[in-house]
């Protein structure tokens, strides 16, 4: 009797995630530079606007709560809003401008030029996120894209996970935005004493 194929599947499933997760280390400087720019925006009174679709909706909200309600006592709360929580607004916009316009339209209403736009797309190919980032760039925001797969997003900082599996991409996104939060605070405190 051989090994239970289900047990083999567990090992294989975990193994598939190791490469892309470890590859994040190679993107360390990109991530750190993004944090530096984000901290500067927060220092200048900017807020963070986060958006994504599908599974990335949850990540957008996760990012917003990390910044607005820090998990470590004593860290300042930084202004962050997810554009994915209000179905009334999203479906209202979608009726007239289409689903792909829900973030761009919200950004045009809510964003100031000193803000940060963070678009999250686990499959790297989301028109709504692309349009949101384009609108943010046009408004002068700092733009950060968390992506994966093959698609290229237009943003000041593109942090792309090296996998085509949206579930694996999502897992690495989570590590990236946890690091973003932590390092933004490091730079934020450095800026305080400049």
């Amino acid at each position: 009797m051989g090994e239970d194929p289900a047990m083999t599947a567990v090992s294989a499933a975990f193994e598939r995630r190791m490469g892309p997760a470890a590859a994040l280390g190679e993107d360390a400087e990109r991530i750190v530079r993004a944090c530096q720019d984000m901290a500067e925006r927060f220092r200048g009174g900017g807020k963070l606007l986060v958006f994504g679709t599908g599974g990335s909706v949850a990540d957008a909200q996760h990012v917003a709560v990390e910044f607005a309600h820090p998990v470590i006592m004593g860290k300042p709360a930084l202004p962050a809003i997810s554009l994915t929580t209000d179905m009334a607004v999203a479906t209202g916009i979608a009726r007239t401008q289409g689903l792909d316009g829900i973030f761009a339209a919200q950004l045009r209403l809510l964003a100031a030029p000193c803000d940060i736009a963070l678009g999250v797309s686990a499959d790297g190919d989301c028109a709504g996120v692309r349009n949101g980032l384009a609108a943010a760039r046009a408004l002068g925001l700092l733009t950060v894209a968390l992506t994966g797969g093959q698609a290229a997003h237009e943003a000041d900082h593109v942090l792309a996970v090296r996998s085509d599996d949206p579930l694996v991409v999502k897992e690495v996104h989570m590590t990236i935005y946890h690091v973003l939060w932590e390092l933004v605070h490091v730079f934020h405190e450095l800026e305080a004493v400049r």
């Binding site: 599947a9 995630r17 470890a22 590859a23 996760h62 998990v71 085509d164 599996d165 579930l167 004493v193």
Partner: protein
Amino acid sequence: MSTVGESGGIEALYPFLAPAPVDREAVVTDLCASTRRKADEIVALRRSLVALHAERLVACARAMAAAFDAGGRLFAFGNGGSSTDAQAVAQLFAAPPEPAHAVAAVGGVAAGAPVPARAEPVRAVAAVPLAQDVALLTALSNDVGYELVFARQLAALGRPGDVAMGLSTSGGSANVLNAMTEASRRGMLTVGLVGYDGGPMAQEDRVAYLFVVPSASVHRIQEAQITLCHVLWELTQRVLTGET
């Protein structure tokens, strides 16, 4: 001369920030090293979960698949970041990635030999996150108490044979613990994901399938928990589509 860390003791985490002239590029170099360490940490943590939880994952996936085959639904819940992770899990079960994505290639440059992608086809399952309905959540919080926001929803929505999945990094969130108790009382299958040493959720056989992520970092715990959820989904799909 600049000093930093007057709030929050950041210098304890990053000693190079202690009173000294701030050399920004040195800071960048150190933060890059710290980021690489975090990548190594999460890889090692995930790797450790195979030995810890592989058998439990397989058994839990079989139990969940049996529940879904019999008409059971998934209810997922947690607080804060764990509420969004619970939402993501429910979304994955209810609206799985398209088959084109399911046959994913491994693109990691440091991955070594490619590993076969997961199987298809996929089957959608009824799944509801319990922290997404703000009218219900605020009504229950206001009228009954926040510690009962999930238990009361399970009492209203849950049936024997449903699956209750609670996420908590501490294992001590009162509303998640109360929901687990309510779910067990109603004959639901209970699945818990926690961190640290499992906390109160690990006591008294409170949940049928408990996955403890042995880490003291809330962030690494959440990152490992979402992997456990993804693997659990994949294994459940294998059973549902007749592969195992």
